[in-house]
């Protein structure tokens, strides 16, 4: 029983990070209809930037905040300099359908190469906010640490902030309208292109936070966040790729599910499980586990 509970809370802390990544991918997908595979690269880059900040200032809060701000700015730049002109150019060219995907891949490759070029390929450790040693319950140490608690707390805070922005603020209303009906939004006076860039910035920030939170456990290398990208995408698909709430639920489900698999079947089954779940959901419930009434085609 104790082991089961440990697994659950551990899975929740991992799952919250997947949720963040899922949120990032959903934000971009909703606003631009592009699955941004470069998200892993953007997150790695901002995490390295965070590492530099930590080397200079030795301040964790500063590290985290600057990494997030950098991630957001970089996300906005990707949209402004790459995606927006591309959408204008490609139109209905010979490979219009796959062009955005290929461009985000190109960006991923370029960023990872660039990161390796500057910081080298070896694994580096990244600071954690709090101790990563588990809490003591009675005499035993459980695999749930103060840092895990910090992760849960931070991601929940971010999600609440997102929920507030999207449901209560004018900006959120504009973002939702621009995502669902860009033309109607424009006719209502919403500057859709600008709103879209803000969406990319939010996504970049969320991805940066996800990177900074998972890296103390996984170590940092140019491609160390590839797996996070895959799990984030899986979580997003679990939630239907369209709804932010869905992505969060998908992330927690995936995190807890994978933690259970690791505890009871062994870690060699993590990936197979994730992959099977991904394919099964896509084939059986393409609208995600949390079914939505309207599904839009790409």
């Amino acid at each position: 029983m104790q082991q089961f509970v440990n697994t659950l809370i551990n899975g929740a802390s991992l799952g919250s990070i997947y949720s963040l990544m899922a949120l990032a991918m959903i934000l971009v997908w909703r606003s631009t209809r592009v699955v941004n595979f470069a998200q892993a690269g953007q997150a790695v880059l901002s995490t390295y930037v965070g590492l530099e900040i930590h080397r200079i200032t030795h301040s964790y809060p500063l590290t985290l905040i600057i990494a997030i701000i950098f991630g957001a700015l970089f996300g906005a730049l990707v949209d402004l300099l790459l995606v927006r002109p591309l959408m204008h150019r490609v139109g209905d060219g010979p490979i219009a359908a796959v062009a955005p995907v290929i461009v985000t891949l190109g960006l991923l490759s370029a960023i990872q190469g660039f990161v390796g070029l500057i910081w080298g390929g070896e694994y580096r450790s990244f600071p954690a906010a709090l101790s990563q040693n588990g809490f003591k319950v009675g005499l035993t140490r459980i695999p749930f640490s103060p840092f895990d608690l910090f992760i849960l707390f931070t991601t929940l805070l971010v999600m609440l902030a997102f929920a507030y922005i999207f449901q209560r603020s004018g900006l959120g209303l504009a973002m939702r309208a621009a995502a669902f009906e860009p033309e109607v939004a424009r006719l209502a006076g919403v500057r859709v292109a600008r709103v879209r860039t803000i969406g990319w910035a939010f996504a970049g920030g969320a991805g940066a936070l996800a990177g900074a939170l998972i890296t103390p456990t996984t170590l940092l290398a140019p491609n160390s966040l590839d797996l996070l990208l895959v799990f984030g995408f899986t979580a997003a698909v679990l939630g239907g790729l369209e709804s932010l709430v869905g992505g969060v639920v998908g992330g927690f489900l995936l995190g807890i599910g994978l933690a259970l698999v690791v505890t009871y079947l062994g870690s060699s089954f993590t990936f197979i499980t994730a992959f099977v779940v991904l394919i099964a959901v896509l084939l059986l419930r393409p609208r995600g586990l949390i079914g939505q009434r309207s599904v839009r085609n790409a």
Binding site: L173, R176, F180, R186, G189
Partner: protein, 235 residues
């Protein structure tokens, strides 16, 4: 005054509008009528920047409409309600209304405009917290018009508001429109296939066929021209 001069728009190799010129005096209602594919929708889309024109010019007072982006046009008082009851289905009625006035920020007049619009379409008030996709076709059309009006435009471009609606609902919408412009001095360009209803409330009319103007002038004169009616309007 809205003045359009030599407007030409191409869709690929198809010429959708050819050398269209006409004027809409401020405060008047002009009906643009014609069969399917006459270029009526293209005309409105070109005026609000959703479609790029090939040549020509269009001015609303001193604003060069063709150089404004869609979202800037709204901020210069030009509202466009495209065909197909354009509301955001995923948002509530209240949110759709809020969306229309978002760019006006915290202007206290927004609340007043909202009240006015809701009293114009009282049925929307009952459904404020419902999602827009739960509304009937007529209610959606009302919401789309209300969303445009809440921005207090001085020029309203309406595309086929009657499409697919029951005659009674159409009647209601047209009456509201007529009342509205008489009260506020709003200038309206009404695109309609339903020529009879449109000509009834219009001051002037423009008859389009295959992208060209067949005739433009007083609505009542065109309505009386039996030959035109038979040839282009089918009644």
């Amino acid at each position: 005054m809205l003045s359009i001069v030599g407007l030409t728009t191409d869709h690929g190799h198809v010429r959708a509008l050819e050398n269209v010129s006409f004027e809409v005096p401020a405060g008047s209602l002009t009906a643009v009528i014609g069969a399917n594919g006459a270029g009526k929708t293209t005309l409105l889309r070109t005026l609000t920047g959703l479609t790029k024109p090939t040549s020509g010019s269009a001015h609303w007072h001193s604003h060069d409409l063709l150089s404004l982006s869609t979202e800037e046009g709204v901020r210069h008082g030009v509202a466009h309600v495209p065909e197909g009851r354009s509301v955001v289905s995923e948002l509530t009625v209240a949110e759709n209304l809020q969306l229309g006035a978002l760019w006006r920020g915290k202007d206290p007049d927004v609340q007043i405009a909202r009240e006015e619009v809701l009293s114009l379409f009282p049925r929307l008030r009952e459904r404020l917290s419902q999602r827009a996709d739960t509304l009937s076709g007529g209610e959606r059309q009302m919401l789309a018009i209300a969303r445009a009006l809440i921005a207090r435009p001085d020029l309203l471009l309406l595309d086929e508001p009657s499409l697919g609606l029951a005659p009674l609902v159409v009647e209601q919408i047209f009456q509201t429109l007529d009342r509205l412009r008489k009260q506020t001095g709003l200038t309206v360009v009404l695109v309609e296939q339903n020529a009879i209803s449109a000509l009834e409330i219009a001051d002037n009319a423009v008859l389009l066929s295959l992208g060209k103007i067949v005739i433009s002038g007083s609505a009542s004169l065109i309505a009386q021209d039996t030959e035109l009616r038979h040839a282009y309007l089918g009644y």
